[in-house]
């Protein structure tokens, strides 16, 4: 029974891991921290999985748990903070091995997102993934009006950071 649940979970997560990677890339600046946060999100997802009723999509539910872990539960270790800047640079080089222009754009987008606050990062990610204000408000637990106000402010900040 537990084995079945475990198998279903790992298969679902394998297919949806891109969501978690996006969150990890926005909230961390090194490969080690990225892996560390990914693992913590996976643990939190697995813990909450028995209560996942399927009335929401697995991807939506994963998004919520991933953001919550990054904002409220994740504790950066000192070792990871100390090496973050060097690794950030290494990360950029690594990503540039792909399609240069496209990767550069993605890199600069992530670079800008990383300079936002934790809450703004969440708003930004949800916006870029085309979530409605209703969904954003439901994920964060705030009113739709508050979500709109916050989103406008975040967009302006992001615009400034991206020089557009």
């Amino acid at each position: 029974m537990v084995k079945d649940l475990e198998q279903r979970f790992t298969e679902d997560l394998e297919k949806n891991q891109n969501i978690i990677h996006k969150v990890c890339r926005a909230y961390t600046t090194s490969d080690d921290a990225h892996k560390d946060l990914f693992q913590e999100i996976t643990i939190q997802l697995w813990r909450a999985y028995p209560n996942f009723r399927g009335d929401a999509k697995f991807s939506t539910w994963t998004y919520r748990v991933a953001l919550n872990t990054a904002i409220s539960l994740y504790r950066k270790s000192k070792r990871l903070i100390a090496t973050s800047e060097i690794n950030d640079h290494l990360n950029e080089l690594e990503f540039k091995e792909y399609d240069t222009t496209k990767e550069e754009q993605i890199d600069s987008l992530y670079h800008a997102i990383r300079q936002l606050s934790d809450i703004e990062k969440a708003l930004c990610l949800l916006y870029l993934d085309d979530k409605s204000y209703k969904e954003i408000a439901e994920t964060l637990g705030i009113t739709e009006v508050n979500a709109r106000v916050k989103m406008n402010r975040t967009k302006l900040k992001l615009k400034e950071l991206l020089n557009v």
Binding site: Q39, I43, L109, D118, T139, K155
Partner: protein
């Protein structure tokens, strides 16, 4: 379409991350231990519960002296009340801890974590109050006991009795205040470091 909206296309078409995990990797991960702040909060709180229980045991030790001061009944009743209150605190702490779920809304998750911490905060506050109250009662009985006054008169026959008593009370109050100060500072420091980021995020989330 605003300029920012154009970034949505870049975002949606981004390459899959360089790191890809297989279901085997994921399966290994779910059996690893969490290092979330909730886990830390749980361990620190557990240590706090143990610390105060040990303190109350340590203070219980000198029963003969307490009996000689005529405080036996008073301390016994206080102890029973104390243990009932501690069990109630542990029950609420555990209930709040169990309520914490990463799949709640962000605001609710933050509130649940802060609520758990608040239970421990009140627990510590209760214990500090009890400690001060207990010390105050015991010191009052010691300073007004014949045994103590006789000792004071024998060791310092030339000095003014009320002056000596005042000095003894002041010294005791200063010691209690220093102990309480250190305890509260230690407590603030631990939770300050642990929950600083969470509290900042919570305030930002609530702000309009």
């Amino acid at each position: 379409m605003t300029q920012i909206d154009k970034f949505k296309d870049i975002w949606k078409n981004q390459e899959a991350d360089t790191i890809k995990y297989s279901s085997d990797d994921i399966q290994k991960m779910i059996h690893k231990k969490s290092s979330s702040i909730v886990k830390w909060l749980f361990y620190i709180s557990l240590m706090e519960f143990c610390f105060w229980i040990l303190i109350s045991f340590a203070l219980d030790a000198d029963w003969n002296h307490i009996k000689s001061l005529g405080l036996y009944n008073f301390i016994s009743v206080l102890n029973v009340i104390n243990y009932i209150i501690i069990i109630t605190f542990i029950y609420f702490f555990y209930k709040n801890y169990k309520n914490i779920s990463a799949s709640s809304t962000t605001q609710k998750l933050m509130e649940d974590i802060l609520k758990t911490r608040k239970t421990v905060y009140f627990y510590v506050l209760y214990n500090v109050t009890m400690l001060v109250f207990g010390f105050a009662v015991i010191l009052y009985y010691i300073f007004t006991s014949e045994d103590f006054i006789n000792k004071l008169e024998t060791t310092r026959p030339d000095s003014d009795l009320s002056m000596s008593l005042t000095i003894a009370v002041i010294i005791s109050v200063v010691i209690i205040l220093v102990v309480v100060g250190i305890l509260l500072l230690f407590y603030r420091l631990i939770y300050g470091i642990l929950l600083k980021r969470l509290i900042t995020n919570y305030k930002e989330l609530l702000k309009n």
